[in-house]
């Protein structure tokens, strides 16, 4: 993996009004991928969705004691892979123990979408942030 061809690093207040901006960045990026052999419009929707879901979670579970808390989102596009990282200052959680949603359950489909549409998902600590790291191959 060489240097990223495209990278974006965003820091936003913990407000849902920024979701459409984050999502549309994902859409634009997908539509601009020249070497992607798959369906770019489908990927555009998927990135929009995955970024929206991950950012929503980071906003929802941010540090509620700090009204100035922020969420950070980075997207790196390499030749053959894209890497999204979403950082929060919340209490953290155990990704592996999140169950699959039932058919009639009203919530709990965010991580399901992320897992279903991307290739790998991890959640870990890095300095004072929690990081959800999402990868997808672009081959």
């Amino acid at each position: 993996m060489t240097a990223a061809e495209f990278q974006v690093d965003l820091v936003i207040p913990t407000q849902t009004k920024y979701l459409s901006l984050i999502g549309s960045i994902g859409e634009h990026i997908a539509k601009g991928l020249e070497n992607y052999s798959g369906d770019k419009n489908a990927l555009a929707y998927q990135l929009n969705l995955v970024l929206t879901e991950a950012t929503t979670n980071a906003i929802k579970h941010s540090n509620s004691d700090n009204p100035k808390d922020t969420v950070r989102i980075t997207i790196h596009i390499y030749d053959d892979e894209l890497v999204i990282k979403v950082y929060d200052h919340g209490q953290g959680f155990d990704l592996d123990s999140v169950p699959l949603p039932d058919d009639l359950q009203e919530s709990g489909r965010g991580l399901f979408f992320i897992r279903e549409l991307m290739d790998s998902v991890e959640y870990r600590q890095e300095q004072d942030w929690n990081v959800l790291e999402i990868r997808k191959s672009l081959k």
Binding site: L19, G23, Y45, N48, K60, L104, E106, G108, F113
Partner: protein, 112 residues
């Protein structure tokens, strides 16, 4: 959130006039629907032709409306879903939960 509300035969037709339904507006959307059902408007058609994007919280809002309507022996039908939005229903298998129609004609053609 902008929602157009019309009466059509025995149904209330709701058309969200938004490109996106996500965590920013889905709570308002859900409350709008639940409020109607509470007021005994239990037969709803939700027309999604303007919605280009829906996230899990948007699906959740629709599901809340669906379950509440059913509990009161009402109906919540979905109509005019854009292809990419429809794939989200398929991925979550919610296309097997909801009654989904291609257009309004399809809903009413079988009725007398």
């Amino acid at each position: 959130m902008k929602i157009k509300k019309e009466k059509i035969k025995d149904f209330i037709l709701l058309t969200p006039e938004e490109e996106r339904i996500d965590a920013h507006n889905s709570t308002e959307f859900k409350e709008y629907i639940l409020d109607l059902i509470k007021k005994s408007e239990i037969n709803l058609i939700i027309q999604l032709d303007q919605v280009r994007f829906i996230d899990s919280s948007g699906l959740g809002a629709l599901l809340a409306g669906f379950k509440n309507a059913q509990r009161k022996a009402g109906k919540l039908l979905l109509v005019n879903i854009q292809p990419q939005v429809l794939s989200m229903f398929e991925l979550t298998r919610l296309n097997r939960v909801f009654e989904i129609y291609a257009d309004l004609d399809e809903i009413f053609e079988s009725e007398p």
